[in-house]
């Protein structure tokens, strides 16, 4: 069997470790890299090295940042007293794109999942509680995924925060706007029905 030269095989192997990349895609990416000019290849390599060297966690909200404190936390036009709690930096970006939320965030770095060894101590919870000691929070918005783990995390947080006398809200889960009821999948419809409200 013909095999790749070792350095190429190694690159294919590294690409294959990436999420969503199978053997075929890994091969295609490796061959693409082979065709790059030296300079382009170096730019790609440097970008990977730089992201590891320079990106860390914001000391306040635990979002990714290349500063000590992220841009959102430093933005004085945003409300300090409304905090949206998310599981992951990607969720923060999703909510940020709406442009609706003008408060600040707190990134937990995951959700409760005993099977993966994640309990409250593995999340940035103590950090959230410490942060809430320093501000007069008006509202904590919980924005977790509508999964069993997301729900358990939201429930745990809500109970904890309410004992501190805080106002806690949770984003609604259900039918996408502009979508037809007719086309919504049943799981989504059931959840939307469960979350129906009085009019």
């Amino acid at each position: 069997m013909v095999q790749y030269a070792k350095p190429l095989a190694r690159l294919v192997g590294e690409f294959e470790k990436l999420p969503g990349i199978g053997p075929k895609s890994a091969q295609r990416l490796a061959f693409y890299v082979m065709r790059l000019s030296d300079e382009e290849a170096k730019t790609l390599g440097d970008a990977i090295a730089e992201v590891k060297a320079k990106i860390g966690y914001c000391k306040t909200c635990y979002n990714f940042t290349d500063q000590e404190e992220c841009e959102i936390c430093r933005d004085s036009r945003r409300s300090d007293t409304h905090i949206c709690v998310v599981a992951d930096p990607r969720d923060l970006i999703a909510i940020e794109k709406t442009g609706e939320f003008r408060g600040k965030y707190h990134v937990l770095g995951g959700v409760l999942a005993p099977m993966e060894g994640i309990g409250p101590d593995q999340l940035k919870l103590r950090e959230l509680l410490a942060r809430l000691q320093t501000i007069e929070a008006e509202e904590i918005v919980l924005a977790m995924n509508p999964s069993v783990e997301g729900d358990a995390t939201a429930m745990y947080l809500a109970k904890l925060l309410k004992t501190l006398g805080l106002r806690v809200t949770q984003i609604a889960h259900g039918i996408p706007v502009g979508g037809d009821l007719d086309y919504a999948d049943q799981a989504t419809l059931i959840q939307a029905y469960d979350g129906r409200r009085e009019m």
Binding site: G22, M115, G119, A152, M155
Partner: protein
């Protein structure tokens, strides 16, 4: 409703198979281990998304293949009309990395398409096809472990309620997480802080399962008793009773009331659960009881005190009741799957089952090793399929 076309790809021992079943009785004839039951199983999967017998979905993928596919055209009198259903199991996609391919592991993924539409969630398959699966293993429902009876319930309720299927999946996940947490707390590896949050998750999804089970059993019990009286010429009554793992008031019928009872019961069990490192109450411990007697008052548990003949009758009565209930709920008869059931039945019950197959305008699939086992009137009316090592051919066609 009926299946007007069925196609299998890499399903069990079928590489490819395409048949256009008759509207009435379809007899699948062949020696053992040729694939008769597999065909019935495929129809069952379309009705419930689950196999009636596989422990893991991947067992349904033909050995050496990466994924299997079942396609069926369903003709209905009521509701959505004709539908093209498609389910793929093990469709690797991004997960089929070099590692998994070399160890020949098939992914557990299930993909569903309806009427050539885009891929959709598995629960969306529910409601397009209903089927009742009579099997020679049905005796286990009456005689076997509680898990057999829960499987019977889940399989039935799931095909009329996507909400049940969803709650079932979520309950299972929450229960796994909670059990792991209890174990970790017991060994001091995790703090008990988050236990309440997980308890609430199993209560929320568990209460929904229990409410649906209870309501379903109440309806089934009525039909089961009628059928039992019919088969025994009025000599025996059958009482089917729901036996949850904690006491439920007869008044506690709503999901909220069941949730509250569950919460109270779990609170009382907390110390014990922490000591044992496992969830001790909930729908994962539900059971059913079947009592048979000359009247409801003197009836006794047929699992413990019934003869084998009585147990077989109860198993048959349950399936017949299920068929009636499905027809009542859906508005037309479901597809009936009879897997090797005739040989276990005495003459009278065999007639009962065959009469059912030939009347009511329903579609039936029946497996036999010899067509001689059938009475002439059944043989004449049937479409006969010969099954031989994963190949199906129509006799006389």
């Amino acid at each position: 409703m009926r299946v007007s076309r069925l196609e299998l790809f890499d399903f069990r021992n079928y590489e490819t198979c395409r048949i256009e079943p008759g509207a009435g009785l379809n007899v699948l004839v062949g020696a053992n281990a040729q694939g008769k039951t597999n065909l019935l199983e495929a129809v069952g999967v379309l009705a419930t998304t689950k196999s009636v017998r596989a422990g893991r979905d991947t067992e349904m993928v033909r050995f050496g293949a990466e994924a299997c596919r079942i396609v069926a055209e369903v003709v209905k009198e009521t509701g959505s009309g004709d539908t093209l259903l498609e389910i793929a199991i093990g469709a690797g996609g991004a997960q089929s990395t070099a590692v998994s391919a070399s160890t020949a592991r098939v992914s557990e993924r299930k993909l569903v398409k309806i009427n050539h539409g885009k891929q959709t969630r598995i629960a969306d398959l529910i409601g397009h096809l209903n089927a009742v699966f009579f099997s020679s293993l049905d005796l286990d429902i009456v005689r076997g472990e509680p898990t057999e009876r829960r499987r019977f319930l889940d399989y039935e309720i799931a095909q009329v309620s996507p909400a049940y299927l969803l709650a079932y999946a979520q309950f299972k996940k929450a229960l796994e997480q909670r059990n792991r947490l209890l174990k970790d707390i017991r060994f001091g590896a995790m703090s008990p802080d988050a236990l309440d949050a997980w308890t609430e998750q199993i209560i929320r999804h568990g209460a929904r399962l229990m409410e649906r089970r209870r309501a379903y059993i109440a309806q089934l019990a009525h039909h089961a008793d009628t059928v039992q009286r019919g088969i025994t010429d009025g000599a025996e009554t059958l009482t089917v009773e729901y036996c949850p793992s904690f006491a439920l008031d007869t008044g506690a019928v709503g999901e909220a009331e069941i949730a509250e009872a569950f919460r109270v019961a779990l609170a009382g069990m907390r110390r014990e659960e922490l000591a044992r490192g496992s969830t001790l109450l909930g729908p994962q411990r539900d059971d059913l009881q079947f009592r048979v007697g000359t009247d409801a008052a003197s009836a006794t548990d047929v699992r413990l005190y019934g003869s084998q003949g009585q147990q077989r009758t109860v198993a048959l009565a349950l399936r017949l009741a299920e068929r009636r209930l499905l027809e009542e709920m859906v508005g037309e008869p479901p597809v009936v799957l009879l897997d090797d059931v005739l040989s276990d039945l005495d003459e009278r019950r065999r007639k009962e089952v065959l009469a059912l197959s030939l009347t009511g305008g329903q579609q039936t699939f029946l497996t036999v090793t010899e067509t001689d086992a059938l009475p002439p009137e059944a043989r004449d009316a049937a479409t006969i399929w010969e099954v031989n090592a994963g190949v199906i051919t129509r006799r006389g066609g």
